[in-house]
């Protein structure tokens, strides 16, 4: 059986485009025009992933999100028309797993959907070996290699990389990373994060000024890209 996706979006053109695109990639799509319809569809269809527009006619997208999170952990990718990063951050705080900003690239959306699907599988038992491009992270042995050569990371750098690996392909906001790596007390100390991301890039990226693995989501956070093995 194909993986199911519920699309909650009021704009008919956008819905049609998403249905066509997702079905072409082999997903089964259920459409919903309003927040209420969306919630009902999630209950009855039990999808693998939900695509949720933030601007709906009957209720705020963030309200729908809060309601879903009341009873389900289904991965939710927010479709945001607003360029303001505040909206995205609010949705991520409320439990959205990721977002795309309209207008978006279909390839970009598919990468997010795949990452969300992978995340759902990973919840059942983590993959001990992560590979992306020339980077390999062995979570069991705590060994990191780039192009086959071992890279020495400080304990903190390794923790940061580990959190990104566990959530590979998904955006991690600044507060999320700070909480996970430095603890709840340091959630505001964004300078730590900037400096450690910089250091990590210098150790694992081919060109730290043009990173391909740890990419920045401006104003939101960081994302570890999942690239084909090199």
């Amino acid at each position: 059986m194909n993986d199911r996706i519920v699309v909650v979006e009021d704009d008919p053109q956008m819905r049609r485009f998403l249905k066509t695109g997702l079905e072409a990639h082999g997903y089964e799509v259920a459409e919903a025009k309003t927040g209420r319809e969306g919630l009902a569809a999630i209950v009855t269809r039990l999808p693998e992933v939900v695509l949720l527009d933030l601007a709906l006619p009957d209720m705020e997208g963030t309200e729908v999100l809060a309601e879903i999170r009341g009873w389900s952990k289904v991965p939710v990718i927010v479709l945001s028309a607003r360029t303001q990063s505040d909206e995205k951050i609010k949705a991520l705080d409320l439990g959205a797993n990721d977002y795309v900003t309209k207008p978006f690239d279909m390839g970009e959306l598919m990468a997010r959907v795949r990452a969300a699907m992978r995340q759902k599988i990973a919840d059942k038992g983590a993959e001990p070996l992560f590979v992306s491009g020339r980077l390999k992270v062995d979570l069991l042995r705590r060994v990191v290699t780039v192009g086959g050569a071992e890279v020495r990371l400080s304990p903190r750098e390794y923790e940061l990389l580990k959190v990104l690996v566990v959530n590979a392909g998904m955006v991690m906001t600044h507060p999320m990373l700070l909480r996970e790596v430095w603890g709840p007390a340091q959630a505001e100390e964004s300078t730590y994060l900037r400096i450690f991301v910089g250091r990590l890039r210098h150790k694992i990226e081919a060109d730290p000024a043009r990173p391909k693995l740890i990419v920045t989501e401006p104003g939101v956070g960081y994302r570890l890209k999942v690239l084909a093995e090199e």
Partner: protein
């Protein structure tokens, strides 16, 4: 005796009179100062009323009222003139914006409609390669249109004075990386060299806005230089400033246009497409950060360089004791 007594009385009276005059003069002076310190027309009325308390002479009240009326007329005229000036500026801005929209949106829109209708028409026999080329054209034109819309949103935000940078500690290497990734397509046949000095301090900036400055400058460098040209992005500290330069070979700016390039709707050349907004946005965003931007010609290397200056914050927090290196 009488004469002496009279003289004493007169001089005593004169002295009293002079003291009284001086007291009144002092009162008048302090009242004038008091009124002069008023913050607006309403405040003037309040302060004048306060100074007039205790004065019973109706002539004084009438004279003050007449003076107030004249002053208010003048103030109203000034406000009207200011309003008219702002309104004219807004009108001019709207007209320029409209002309930019109708002029610059047509080209990509035309490409999209043309290519899409060709693909949609069932009677045209299109091979795989033609289809791919047509869809490629649509993707490119839509991307350009998207950038125009973003620029227009940015410039209207600046015009409306609604820009509120959300400041956080930012690593310029990080900004450079995000900007380079965002304009990757535009840089394909250019030689891009990046040199970010090691150990630059973190700066307190709005990441999103400064990334827009970098992307606009890089897009600009690609737009005005021929394929194969060199584009350099560099950052280093110079005293209290961090300086970022974006340089490209193969283009020039007329000396009298070095400042004008930052004006809204200024266009580098008739054959170049674009809204003429990119550099105006750069200047607007840099100013909002207390920074500066300059353009200069590099005749020795045959190119154009843009310099950005960011003030270094004095209160950059240290790494604390909890760190492990």
């Amino acid at each position: 005796m009488w004469g002496l007594g009279l003289a004493a009385v007169i001089s005593a009276l004169a002295l009293w009179h002079i003291r009284r005059m001086r007291a009144r003069y002092e009162a008048l002076l302090s009242a004038a100062r008091e009124i002069n310190a008023a913050t607006g027309p309403e405040d003037v009325r309040r302060r004048v009323a306060a100074c007039l308390t205790g004065i019973t002479d109706a002539r004084v009240h009438a004279a003050v009222a007449a003076m107030l009326a004249v002053a208010e007329d003048r103030e109203n005229l000034r406000a009207e003139a200011e309003n008219a000036r702002v309104l004219a500026g807004t009108e001019k801005f709207r007209a320029a914006l409209l002309s930019s929209v109708s002029h610059d949106f047509r080209t990509p829109l035309g490409t999209i409609i043309g290519a899409a209708t060709t693909l949609a028409s069932s009677d045209a026999a299109l091979d795989e390669q033609t289809r791919a080329s047509l869809t490629g054209m649509i993707v490119q034109a839509a991307g350009r249109l998207n950038r125009y819309v973003r620029n227009i949103l940015d410039v209207t935000t600046l015009q409306a004075g609604g820009l509120r940078p959300s400041l956080d500690w930012v690593d310029l290497e990080d900004v450079a990386g995000a900007a380079l990734a965002a304009v990757e397509d535009a840089l394909t046949d250019r030689v891009v060299l990046v040199s970010i000095a090691e150990g630059l301090p973190l700066l307190r900036l709005d990441f999103v806005l400064i990334e827009r400055v970098f992307t606009n400058l890089l897009e600009n460098a690609a737009k005005f230089s021929p394929p194969g040209a060199v584009i350099e992005l560099a950052a280093e500290q110079r005293g209290d400033w961090v300086e970022v330069t974006v340089f490209n070979t193969g283009s020039d700016i007329a000396p009298d246009a070095l400042d004008k390039v930052f004006d809204r709707f200024f266009r580098g050349g008739s054959e170049i497409t674009g809204t003429g907004l990119g550099l105006a946005i750069c200047r607007g965003f840099m100013t909002a950060h207390g920074g500066a931007i300059f353009a200069e010609r590099d005749r020795a290397r045959g190119g154009v360089r843009f310099r950005l200056r960011f003030p270094v914050a004095e209160d950059m927090p240290g790494m604390g004791h909890s760190e492990d290196e």
